[in-house]
Every structure is written in structure tokens, then in C-alpha cells.
């Protein structure tokens, strides 16, 4: 394993050198490096339990770590296919390529970390290297918000890590965290600090603000990594804080709701809130990338709830949803990126009818959103179904309702870009665009194939998850052939796929047979002989769900709250500056006198 890190470390240097010579070359190299990483991590699947030390970093191969690392590497690997085509847009291509690999190193290190210090070091490395990549996109503000929100998580992790190390006297993760079975009060503090990091990173409400900003304005090639990959770091922290950290024991004495301790239930409520909030906000978005970012918020909620449940079904669902969402969201982002490469925009109201020019991209996107929305034949369905099963089995009605709401809402938001970007009439200026470059298409097809595969044969993944569950000592999910068994019944995805595939074929045949509709130009709009100044406002993709959005457009947003907080901090700083750092000797001497008086009065007692 050390070799992997050394290899990736060397290759990031090499990619820097190559990129200095020829940016595209370095970018192609990132594909090779991440592929090599993927293969070598895959080969580690049988060496669970092996520990290795590299310098003062200690690593251990665990099933869960392997599972997470594989997800991340898949996303990094496929996204890397897009890197070469964005080199000319970036001002620091060499830095981009090497930071791309550095963040990869950081994330993989995080999943394989054996001790808390290694965990934190890898975490921070991933955060700041990805922050430096995000800044190369459209917005510095976004990168900054990303960093600050991450820093809140980082610092609370650091606090938890150090307090744990201090109290337990060890830094080995399992040993240190299980210490808290005997110290529930400190345990609650550490749990809070830990889970805060997870929440910020997954983008759980109210820490979700960075997601739309960072995803929306990161370089197009990096958005899939952010959404599909880096967010999963938070999920890993959440996993650590309920599965490895004895959360259910620590909160064993607290009030329980349907068997779930209140603090954990509260976190689940936050998860549910982000499902609802993310869904509603996603429906509103005008920009395809921001829309997908909000959908990540919603899906993060599913993942969090699933992991927090720590049971047979929902937990498995949560872990599986990680993979499904990573694959689907990476594919969706990549599809949008491919469109943006050809058209130069991600605003839905400026696009339309791209299906006529980029059919493969359309297919990729279609399958990705089907998976994200959790519509049956795809992987997303299985995981969401499992989570829903778990929730309803425990009787957590509120959460189950939110989950159901999110599923239904996701139909709305995933259909919007599908319709606005790909369907409809093609704008004249895009008449001459071509299908995406074969390299990019390859990457997208890989992800699509995975989505399909996960939908048809979820047992491939569920086996690994069952192994994890056995390691944790909870009932494993039972997989029987292609069928997944639960207490409420079983689902065999192969059968489902057959049925849906049949239906799809039927519709396709009908579509072919039935007469075609008449095609009109996009801007062929009746305007009472007025000249149209702002044609995009008349685009059918604009204000797509206007009547629905109007229901909640007045709802307060969270971002102003943060802005106000930042402003308050500035004001406090200004106050301190004018009060204590005033450039007036009189005042300083006055302060000396005041301090002297205080000290004498205070000290005399």
C-alpha cells in the first residue's frame, strides 16, 4: 500500500513536470496514474487487515476503506478523462494536474488511515488541495466558502482527534474511539465534534452552502470529483463516528425515539431536512451544475440517514447509495461538462435540443438521472429502497416521509435539465456542434455501464457491504443469487430489469412507429411583433417549474445567514481595531492604567 502512495506521490510530481512542458500530456498522465491507482487498490481486496507505516503515517487496509477508496478512484479515474480538454481554460494547468493527484492521495489516505493523526492529515491535504483546484474555476468566493466550511469541519475534527488521543492515550482509530464506551460525557463531546466534520463535508443542511457554490463554479472537470468523490469523505467520517465510535453505547442512556437515541435521531432529522431542502432548491435552479449540486445535498441526506441507522437494511442502503450516487452524479456532471465543452455554458435556458447533436451524452445523462432519482432498473432504486425499508421497519415515519418526498421531488429536478438541455428545439448557434470527444465518451460510458450493472446486479456490491456489516457485528444484508432479501420481502433486480427493459423496448418501438412531431426553431415564438431583447427569458427551460417554485420562493435561504455571520465577525474586528488598536498614544496609556487598576484590585484579594 505504501507503494501506491509513493507511486501516486511520484506521479503527481511527474505530472507537474510533464504539464510544465505540455499541459495536455500531464493531463493524460493523470488518467494513467489514477487507473494505476485503481487497479492496485483493487488488488488489495484480499489483504484486509494488513497494516503499513509510511514515515509517521500509519495505514491499515479495511473492507470499508477499500470500498470507499474504490468509489473515489473510479470517480477520479473517469473524471480524469476530461482533464486534457480543459487545460487551455486553466491558468495554472500544471498545478491543476498535480493537485488533482494530490487530492486523490489525500482521500485514499483518509480511507486507509489507521490512526487519527493520519486521518486528519489526509483529510486536510484533500481539503486544501481541492480548494486550490476549485479556485481555478469561475469563482474565488466559492473556493473560499468551500474552504471555510471545510475548515469548520477540519478544526472540529482536529479537536476531536486531539481530545481522543489525549484521553485514550492512543491514536489508533478503533482503539481510541472504543475508549469512549467507558467515558460517555467526553464521548458525547467528541462525537459532536467528529460528526460536525462529516456534516460539513457531506453538505448536510445547514452546512450545505458550499456545495452549490463550489460544485457550480469549480472547473467542469472537477465538479464530478467534488460531488461524486470528495463529498464521500464526509460519509466516511460519519461512518467512523457511528460505526467505529460507539455512538449507540455512548448515547445508550439518552432519550430514545423508536429505539434511536435522541442525538442520533436529531442528526437523522438534519439528514431528512437536507433531503427536503436540497430537493426543493434543486427544482429552482437555472444552472445545470448548481442543480446537480443541490441534488447532491439531497442524496447526502439519504447517505447520512442510512449510515446513522446502523442496521441490516438502511445501513447497507446508505453504503450502496454512496456508490450509486457517486457513479450517477459523476456521470451527470461529466455529461453536463461535455455539453459545456461544446456550448460554453451550463445555463439551462441557453441550451436545448442537444440530443440532436450529442445523443450519447444524452443517453449517459438519462441513465444517470434515472439512477439518481431512484427509478427502478438502476442502482439508485435499490439503495433508496433499502433505506426506505430500514426506516419504515423501525417505524421512523417522519424520516421515511422525507425520503419518499425526496424521491418524488427528484423526478422533478432531474427531468428539468433533461428536458431543458437535451430535449426540445436546438438553438441555431448550436447547429454545428458535434458529439463529445471519444475520450470523454469513453469515460461517460464506463460510468453508465456501472450504473446499469449496479441496477441489474446489486448483489455484487451488497456482498462487500455484507462483509462490512459482519465486521461491525450487525446483521448482514442477505443476498440470494440476484435477489436481495429483506424482512418485508425480497427484490430481484434482474427480474425488475427484465420487466423495465421490456417496457422500454415497447415504448421505443411505439416512438419509432408513430408519426413524428413537427420541428420548429427554438426562437420561433410569437411576440406581437415586438423585438425580443432577452430571448433566454422566453426559453421554455426558464422558470421551468414556476408555479411550483412560487410556493416556496419566499422561504428564507441559509446563505444570507452565513453572510451576516461573516459580516458580524468583520464588525467585531472593526470594533476591536478601533477600540484597542487605535493609533492614539493617549488611549494606549489609558489602557495601561485600566489594566493596572484591574490587576491591582483583582490581585489584592
Amino acid at each position: 500500500m505504501t507503494m501506491i502512495f509513493i507511486f501516486l506521490g511520484l506521479s503527481l510530481l511527474l505530472s507537474y513536470v510533464l504539464s510544465r512542458k505540455q499541459p495536455t500530456l500531464g493531463a493524460y498522465f493523470t488518467i494513467i496514474a489514477s487507473l494505476a491507482g485503481l487497479i492496485s487498490v483493487y488488488l488489495l481486496r484480499n489483504s484486509v487487515g494488513v497494516t503499513e507505516s509510511f514515515y509517521y503515517l500509519n495505514f491499515q487496509i479495511t473492507t470499508i476503506g477499500w470500498y470507499f477508496a474504490m468509489i473515489l478512484l473510479t470517480v477520479y479515474f473517469t473524471s480524469a478523462f476530461f482533464n486534457p480538454f480543459w487545460m487551455d481554460e486553466l491558468i495554472y494547468p500544471a498545478a491543476y494536474n498535480s493537485l488533482y493527484l494530490l487530492s486523490l492521495v489525500g482521500t485514499i489516505g483518509l480511507f486507509f488511515a489507521q490512526d487519527l493523526m493520519t486521518l486528519f492529515i489526509c483529510w486536510e491535504t484533500a481539503v486544501w488541495s481541492s480548494m486550490l483546484i476549485v479556485q481555478q474555476g469561475k469563482s474565488r468566493q466559492a473556493a473560499w466558502v468551500y474552504f471555510v466550511i471545510s475548515a469548520i469541519g477540519s478544526m472540529s475534527t482536529l479537536f476531536a482527534v486531539l481530545l481522543t488521543m489525549y484521553l485514550s492515550g492512543t491514536s489508533e482509530i478503533t482503539g481510541a474511539l472504543t475508549y469512549f464506551t467507558t467515558a460517555p460525557v467526553a464521548g458525547a463531546l467528541v462525537f459532536g465534534a467528529f460528526i460536525l466534520a462529516g456534516l460539513t463535508k457531506i453538505g448536510i443542511f445547514p452546512f450545505h452552502v458550499w456545495l452549490p457554490l463550489a460544485h457550480g463554479s469549480a472547473p467542469h472537470t472537477f465538479s464530478p470529483v467534488l460531488s461524486g468523490g470528495l463529498v464521500k469523505m464526509g460519509a466516511y467520517i460519519a461512518y467512523l463516528s457511528v460505526a467505529v465510535f460507539p455512538a449507540y453505547q455512548v448515547f445508550g442512556d439518552s432519550l430514545k425515539i423508536q429505539g434511536v437515541p435522541l442525538p442520533i435521531y436529531g442528526l437523522m432529522i438534519l439528514g431528512a431536512a437536507s433531503i427536503v431542502y436540497g430537493t426543493l432548491r434543486a427544482i429552482q435552479q437555472e444552472d445545470a451544475k448548481r442543480l446537480l449540486a443541490y441534488s447532491s445535498v439531497a442524496n447526502g441526506g439519504y447517505i447520512l440517514i442510512g449510515i446513522l441507522m446502523m442496521d441490516q437494511m438502511a445501513f447497507a442502503g446508505g453504503l450502496m447509495h454512496l456508490l450509486n450516487h457517486a457513479v450517477a452524479s459523476a456521470a451527470a456532471f461529466l455529461a453536463i461538462a461535455a455539453v459545456a465543452k461544446r456550448t460554453g455554458t451550463t445555463k439551462m435556458s441557453e441550451l436545448g435540443g442537444i440530443i440532436h447533436r450529442m445523443p450519447i451524452t444524452y443517453t449517459v445523462y438519462l441513465i444517470a438521472i434515472i439512477s439518481m432519482a431512484g427509478i427502478p432498473p438502476m442502482g439508485g432504486f435499490v439503495s433508496k429502497w433499502l433505506i426506505f425499508q430500514g426506516l419504515s421497519e423501525k417505524g421512523l415515519i417522519l424520516l421515511a416521509t422525507a425520503a419518499a418526498f425526496g424521491s418524488i421531488g427528484s423526478y422533478m429536478y432531474v427531468f428539468r435539465p433533461l428536458s431543458a438541455v437535451f430535449l426540445g428545439q436546438l438553438a441555431p448557434k448550436y447547429e454545428h456542434i458535434k458529439e463529445a470527444n471519444p475520450v470523454m465518451v469513453t469515460a461517460m460510458l464506463i460510468l453508465t455501464a456501472m450504473s446499469l450493472l449496479l441496477g441489474v446486479l446489486p448483489n455484487l456490491v451488497l456482498k462487500t457491504i455484507a462483509k462490512i456489516q459482519i465486521e461491525l457485528g450487525i446483521n448482514p444484508i442477505i443476498v440470494n443469487g440476484t435477489a436481495t432479501l429483506t424482512e418485508n420481502g425480497s427484490v430481484d433486480m434482474l427480474q425488475v430489469f427484465t420487466v423495465f427493459g421490456f417496457g422500454f423496448l415497447l415504448i421505443l418501438i411505439l416512438f419509432m412507429v408513430l408519426p413524428k412531431s413537427r420541428r420548429v426553431g427554438l426562437m420561433d415564438t410569437y411576440t406581437s411583433a415586438e423585438f425580443i431583447h432577452t430571448p433566454e427569458l422566453l426559453h421554455y427551460g426558464h422558470s421551468f417549474y414556476a408555479p411550483f417554485e412560487r410556493l416556496y420562493e419566499k422561504w428564507p435561504s441559509v446563505l444570507p445567514l452565513y453572510k451576516r455571520m461573516s459580516m458580524k465577525l468583520s464588525e467585531l474586528g472593526e470594533w476591536a481595531e478601533s477600540f484597542f488598536f487605535h493609533p492614539d498614544p493617549n488611549r494606549a496609556v489609558l489602557w495601561i492604567v485600566v489594566v493596572a487598576i484591574v490587576v491591582i484590585i483583582g490581585g489584592a484579594q
Binding site: L590, V593, A596, I597, I600, A604
Partner: protein
């Protein structure tokens, strides 16, 4: 308002300071004799390095410190290193004044005939007094600082008298530099000869004699010269300076 608040604060501070200090200091009744624990007793009895020889003016010889003026023995012998630091402070502030005001070209000072004559008469006298003070620093009150400053005052009078800076500033610089260098060199000789920097390695002679106390008079002369030249430099810089905008 500001004055009132300041006044009030000072009153409060004064009250608490006084009540706090009252427990340890008796403002109106100084002690009758020096506390045994104070190290100054060793300076007075000249027995810091052991020894219990009686100290008598004009008689005792070969004491650890040969200066009749105990303050001088503290300043230039026991705690000579402080003095080195002190002349460094003066040196650096003279330098700073020079850097800040040195650009001035030199303003002519108008002065009356009487002042001129008086200055011309007094200034050599003061010069001599100054030299006397710092050469007798180990016997009588005074020493290098007032002596050197006296010299500088003479310089200042000379300036009033003649209306311009007559003494060559260059030579002042040399004097300043050399006096400092010699101070350190004498100290370093101590390091090589006797084992510690600024050690009094010359025979201390008889208490009360002009040629006694080892390196003390030498150092005090150097200090006097250095202080004199530095203060002169400061005066010259201030006098020359014009308001530059």
C-alpha cells in the same frame, strides 16, 4: 471630559496603588539601615568575591575594587556591562538623531555680543571641569556621564559663541568610535587575561588615590569621551536641523 476621566482613573490608580504599596513600603519612614539581604552590602564592603579585608579610605590596598566612590565601583566595575549597554543606548540614539535630522545644512544662530564673549570665556572652563569630573569619577561624585555631558555643554556654548559648529564632526565621530572600541577592547583583554569580560585585571591600588582602582578610571575616561562626543553629536544635529518638508 477626557481630562476628567483621566483624572478620575489616575485617582483610582493612585488610591489602589498606595493601598497596595502601603503594605510593603513606608513612604514617610525610610529604614534605619540597609537590609542585610541586599547585595549592595557587598559593594560597600567590597567583599563580593569573598574576603573580609577592612575598607579604609587612603589605607586599604589591593581590594577587589579600588574605587572610593561606591556608585562608581558599581557602575564601572561590578556592573560595568550595564554601562556598556547604556552608552550603546546613547550611541544608538545619537545615531538615530543623526539619521533623522542629519540632512540639515546648518542654520546660523544669531547671538548677541555679550553671549558670544561669555561663551568664549566659559566654554574652556567647562571643558576643563568636565575633564576633571570624569577623570576623578572613582573618587568624587560625577563620573563619565556628567563629565562627558559637561564637555558637550562646553561644545554647545562654543556653538552659541561662534554661531556655527566649529568643531569638526568627523573627529567627533572618530572619538566616539574609538572610545567605544577601546572600552570593548579593554573588556576583551579582561576576557583573555583574567577569564571574564570587563574584569578588573589591573592592580586596584589604594582606595582614594588618583591612580588607583585599576581599569575604572580608564573606562570612565572612555565613557566620558564617548558620552561627550555622542551628546555633542546630538546637539550638533539638533542645532543644524531645519524644518524640512
Amino acid at each position: 471630559m477626557k481630562k476628567f476621566i483621566s483624572f478620575l482613573l489616575i485617582l483610582v490608580l493612585a488610591f489602589f496603588l498606595m493601598t497596595s504599596l502601603n503594605s510593603s513600603l513606608d513612604f514617610f519612614n525610610p529604614p534605619n539601615s540597609l537590609d542585610e539581604t541586599r547585595m549592595s552590602n557587598a559593594f560597600i564592603h567590597k567583599n563580593a568575591s569573598g574576603g573580609s579585608d577592612p575598607v579604609e579610605f587612603g589605607k586599604s590596598t589591593g581590594l577587589e575594587d579600588g574605587s572610593a566612590n561606591i556608585v562608581t565601583s558599581v557602575v564601572v566595575d561590578y556592573r560595568s556591562f550595564d554601562t556598556l549597554g547604556e552608552i550603546t543606548v546613547l550611541f544608538i540614539s545619537a545615531l538615530g538623531v543623526g539619521l533623522l535630522l542629519g540632512a540639515g545644512t546648518g542654520a546660523k544662530q544669531r547671538s548677541g555680543f555679550i553671549l558670544k564673549t561669555a561663551a568664549k570665556l566659559i566654554s574652556p572652563l567647562m571643558m576643563v571641569t568636565g575633564i576633571f569630573i570624569f577623570t576623578h569619577g572613582h573618587l568624587t561624585p560625577g563620573g563619565g556621564f556628567p563629565g562627558g555631558s559637561m564637555m558637550a555643554t562646553a561644545f554647545l556654548l562654543n556653538y552659541f559663541g561662534s554661531g556655527s559648529i566649529s568643531t569638526d564632526l568627523k573627529s567627533l565621530k572618530w572619538m566616539e568610535s574609538l572610545a567605544g572600541v577601546f572600552y570593548i577592547v579593554i573588556g576583551l583583554i579582561g576576557l583573555f587575561v583574567a577569564g571574564s569580560f570587563l574584569q578588573n585585571y589591573l592592580p586596584t591600588g589604594t582606595v582614594g588615590h588618583l591612580f588607583s582602582a585599576g581599569i575604572i578610571p580608564i573606562i570612565y575616561v572612555l565613557v566620558g569621551l564617548k558620552v561627550g562626543s555622542e551628546v555633542s553629536g546630538i546637539i550638533a544635529d539638533f542645532s543644524k536641523s531645519e524644518v524640512t518638508s
